[in-house]
Assembly symmetry: C2
Homo-oligomer: 694 residues x 2
């Protein structure tokens, strides 16, 4: 379509204007007015966020838990939406309807407008349908308050997702990695197809009763399935965090929600990419299907590789330079490298958000260890603030969008069907997979945990961003409206019901800290809190561990399946710990001790002096305690394993534990949270230390 | 022009297309390609910044001082600009020229394009002239790498300016406030008119020798004067900071550069607003002139008020809520309120950048005292990172723009004239004003200091942003090119020559700290360093103080002028300290002690419990030490004043100094940097404590 020769034949038609100066002045006024309007709109959102922050403070101050900040942001957004929609007399906005001009060739990104011999440049914003043109006429104000959907994907989601990845450096996450991956990949796919098929039934029903006036294909239903499969239990997790609920349940929920966002976004791209050849473009076509599967695998692995590579490059840069003397430069570099991951992935047509997620995980795993103490704080805090602002902005925008979005299609049958479908979809994700996982897990996911996971299937920012990205067709508009309602309902009802649900399901909660401030600090900087959970022995369901039990002599049989499933992970862990960490970070054992003798010179060249120090001090900033000599025998529960059961990576008690090496400890205060699990490998004994589940 | 009825008569001409699906696919591809191109462009800048950071690290590591990070960023920008311009074969970009369409009515912000019955929405980017249309044809790539100039004003400048304001909370700044304001307001105005008039002479000369092909009015010359009067000695200040050069000189330079940015931006707006009525629009018109002066005063005071009010509101919010228990909420609120200042000012047609500057100063003065310790760090670090990134981005963009900007007009006469004019302009700012200021100052600004201030007249981000904002006319394009060259020259030559210049002018420098890391920390968190300057007594020019000497009995005569000029400031200071600080912050004396007895109940109601504590502990987070009882007699230099001469607000030594109250100290290590000056007022003795000049 874009044949160059066509465009070279430009036709500039000029019209004479009576007063060029007046014209110019009017243009300036127009531009100024537009800029002012933008400022006012942005100001509205900022004041909304300010109001939200102040109310959150009040709620936290008074320990109100039934409404989370995101729920609150939505309520305020709704109120402002109502005011904008009904409070401001719409007549004053009636007077501006954009003029139109026509062109034979397809739309281009840049358009020149010739007004009285002067040329003005215009940039493409997007296609609008005929319904919207009338809306343009109706209410310009509401349209102005509407953001470009790509803002969500390119500006607001990346910090949220990166922060999630950067917070994943948790023992309990890696202990439950197998289950998390199962839920996130297999579970999301199941949920997507279940919801998609159920919704196809609903659509058929709607067509039968004549409620559907426009096209709604099977691929649209599947797309809705992908949208509605991205869970975001931010409310639930905040309450878990505050109440110190079970750490493994927390890890399962958090890990699943982080990874299933990535899966859902790539899944939706693959569904959009499903373009069967031939005349009927909406029937099943095996080759197109496999192409979509290929797209899924390609985008996912590409984004994954992109994120991991940038993370590793950042780790290498921070490893080889002594940048940690300059925290500002270090933080700036960290920020830029993480952002470049996003752009690099987008430039290569992968998914930036997914790349940023894996970049965050890699940064947390490697780069974090090379940063100076101040930079670790700075980067954490920087992304924490960005994440907080972006998340609350999205949620208040959601509230606003319910009233200011111009093309809502409320279809009661579709909405009721969707609510049923997402519950069935979530159930067919959690319960069957939990059953199969429990076959392999030594520490089963109890029924109550499954119910809680089912309950925590909230939908949030990702579902919204996916739904708003494309609202061009009738089907997509109906989906958007429904998604919005699903988010409202789940955040308010399920989010608010978390505390009662926890006590109803008898899920153990820890003691609440004295003040939120302490908790915030503890969450960030204190890895281990021994005995934070005094009532856990009273709770029978506290027994929920997936032990990465090694092949040591103390291993008790009966979990052969478990052992096999952990084998691959153990292999990776050993490789990571012995080779990757020493090469990429200043922590971990020196390469000279882990590499075979023949690689001695290379190892010496790659090992930093710090590594030797760490080695001597038994220091490990990544909270993997290395015990090189001495077999410590320890009793926990009813099993004796050779490990020091107390808090290894604990910052504050490191001094105390320095001298304990080689001695046998009784450790009477040992509890399930402070238990250590170990795996033996090539002369290095790895103990998974206790880390708080923030 | 924008008559509603005209636009209601929309004419939608439809054209049939052969294959709508193909068309749609092509549009999607086009949009995707455009998005990818944007990602690549942004990625280029990010990699540029990354490279800059790594090189800065190398330079700091090796203590290279002749090239600052901003100068480096420009060099890398230049290199990338050369590659983009000449390295990439331009033929591949020849194929895209935007199509044009014509319209009778004036340009509007939103335009609809009708392509084969589908409507696409376009937004106005700006006017382009006929020259540029050909450039569009020539090289689309270079155009794409060019940012919208408003990005600089709305995204990049605010964090830089806010950070500058937020860093102004310095004793030496307030001690030299009178001189700083004189240089910034009067000096910038003088500089603007001197440069403007000189350039008008140059323009006349160019017209005489036939070098000027287009219109160039007197107002254009004045506009150039305003652009070129905004100094930005970031390079010099960085070296001052590193070498611990004289603190008062630092305060004078920094204060002047911060405030004259605000003056220059408002001055340029006023000059643009100068629109004489009548036929000849470029002759002098008294009413238009006074209107311009009115615009200047209106915009400046409006922006000032806007910034101050938002700052005070933030202080009040942080005062009345116990938000400091939640550092994340506090930081987010601080960020949002500071940003809303910008938007509020823009929405009210004031200047956002100026408002943000005064907001920063107010926040530093009041809100900062109410923040939790963690939030003070967080906010500082957050804005430090934003400032660092924005500044280096602007400077690397400058380097790039020299080659990628399409409408450079290199006029040798204009450029040489401009270089001469800015030096004469700077000289007629510094030398005469210093002479008059020295009449009033007790501690004169020495000749060498004046030469250094003259030398430090670098131009930077603000001059560039003002110049690039409007490059529509021939005159403006010539100005932009010249400004770019001025920035390059001053940053590289004067920036690089700072260290030799300092030693040539015999300006004392302190001992360099052991490592940059220590210095960074000291800069941020350590207010006082006593005796950092061991060789100052050897330097006769160390005697450069403007003493805010109070009206105590120990005051030595001979500086009546000084005393009078400080009277207004002292009045404000007393009012601020006794009333504003107690009302707005948790520091300062309790209102109950400063308000008259009749206001007792009100005072008790407004005074926070913390204030009493502070009062008792002699604690003052704003580093104004209050000594309520006991007259301490102290000898410094040859003057005895009643004050404790040592570091009052010093964080680390507060404990030591607690017991010193009421005793007489000899304080042998007292030096000019550690000297205390005091002013007595209503039962409260204010001692200006020592604070580091960061």
């Amino acid at each position: 379509v874009l044949i160059p020769s066509l465009f070279l034949a430009l036709l500039y038609v000029s019209c004479r204007a009576e007063d060029a100066a007046m014209e110019e002045l009017a243009t300036e006024k127009e531009a100024e007015e537009s800029h002012r309007q933008d400022s006012v709109n942005l100001l509205t959102f900022i004041l909304l966020l300010t109001l939200t922050i102040l109310t959150i403070w009040l709620f936290k101050h008074r320990r109100v838990r039934f409404l989370h900040e995101t729920g609150l942001a939505m309520i305020y957004g709704l109120l402002v939406g109502v005011i904008l929609r009904y409070g401001i007399p719409s007549t004053i906005y009636h007077n501006k309807t954009p003029p139109s001009c026509s062109l034979k060739e397809g739309p281009v990104s840049t358009l020149l407008l010739n007004v009285s011999g002067k040329f003005f440049e215009y940039t493409l914003k997007g296609e609008i349908n005929s319904r919207e043109i009338h809306n343009v006429e109706q209410n310009d104000m509401l349209r102005k308050v509407t953001f470009d959907p790509e803002v969500f994907f390119n500006i607001l989601l990346p910090p949220i997702i990166f922060h999630a990845g950067y917070s994943l450096k948790k023992r309990h996450f890696f202990r439950n990695l197998g289950s998390i991956i199962t839920y996130a990949f297999l579970g999301t796919a199941i949920s997507c197809f279940v919801i998609g098929n159920l919704m196809y039934g609903v659509v058929k029903l709607m067509q039968a009763v004549g409620q559907l006036t426009d096209k709604f294909y099977y691929t649209d239903c599947l797309f809705f399935g992908a949208i509605a499969s991205a869970t975001d239990p931010v409310t639930v997790l905040a309450i878990f965090n505050e109440l110190h609920a079970d750490v493994d349940l927390y890890a399962l929920l958090f890990g699943e929600s982080v990874l299933n966002d990535a899966v859902a976004i790539v899944l939706s791209s693959s569904i959009v990419a499903y373009q069967p050849s031939g005349t009927n473009t909406h029937t099943f076509d095996a080759s197109a299907f496999f192409k979509s599967v290929g797209v899924f695998l390609g985008i996912f692995s590409g984004s994954f590789a992109m994120g991991a590579v940038t993370g590793v490059v950042t780790a290498l840069i921070s490893f080889f330079t002594k940048l940690h003397c300059f925290p500002l430069l270090e933080t700036a570099l960290f920020f830029l490298m993480s952002w470049s991951t996003f752009l690099l992935a987008e430039a290569c047509s992968f998914t930036g958000v997914v790349a940023v997620l894996f970049c965050g995980i890699t940064q947390a795993h490697y780069t974090y260890n090379n940063l100076s103490e101040e930079s670790t704080k700075r980067t954490k805090q920087l992304f924490e603030v960005l994440h907080f602002l972006a998340e609350n902005f999205i949620f208040s925008y959601m509230g606003l969008a319910l009233f200011t979005f111009q093309n809502h299609i409320f279809s009661p049958i579709f909405i009721v069907g969707a609510f049923l479908a997402i519950f069935i979809g979530r159930a067919s994700n959690i319960y069957p997979l939990s059953f199969f996982l429990n076959l392999g897990r030594r520490h089963k996911i109890s029924g109550n945990f499954q119910h809680m996971m089912m309950f925590a299937g909230l939908r949030g920012a990702m579902a919204f961003a996916l739904a708003i990205r494309d609202t061009a067709t009738y089907a997509r508009q109906m989906m958007f409206t429904t998604t919005l309602l699903i988010v409202f309902f789940t955040v308010w009802v399920f989010g608010g019901g978390t505390t009662p649900m926890l006590s109803w399901l008898h899920i153990r909660v820890g003691s609440t800290l004295e003040s939120q401030e302490e908790e915030e600090r503890a969450k960030q900087w204190q890895y281990v809190r021994v005995g934070v959970d005094p009532d856990q022995d009273l709770q029978p369901i506290g027994d929920n561990f997936q032990v990465l039990q090694g092949d040591g002599p103390q291993h008790e049989g009966g979990s052969k399946t478990k052992q096999e499933s952990a084998w691959l992970f153990r292999l990776w862990y050993t490789f990571d710990h012995n080779y990757l960490k020493p090469i990429l970070t200043h922590s971990g054992p020196p390469l000279t001790t882990t590499l075979p003798g023949c690689c001695g010179p290379l190892a010496r060249c790659l090992t930093s002096p710090q590594a030797y120090e760490n080695h001597e001090q038994l220091r490990d900033t990544d909270s993997d305690l290395i015990l090189n000599d001495g077999d410590l025998t320890l009793t926990y529960g009813d099993t004796a394993i050779t490990a020091n059961g107390a808090s290894g990576g604990h910052d504050g008690t490191r001094g105390e534990w320095g001298g304990i090496n080689g001695k046998t400890e009784a450790a009477p205060e040992r509890d399930s949270e402070a238990r250590e699990h170990e795996t033996t490998s090539r002369g290095t004994r790895l103990v998974f230390p206790v880390e708080d589940h923030a």
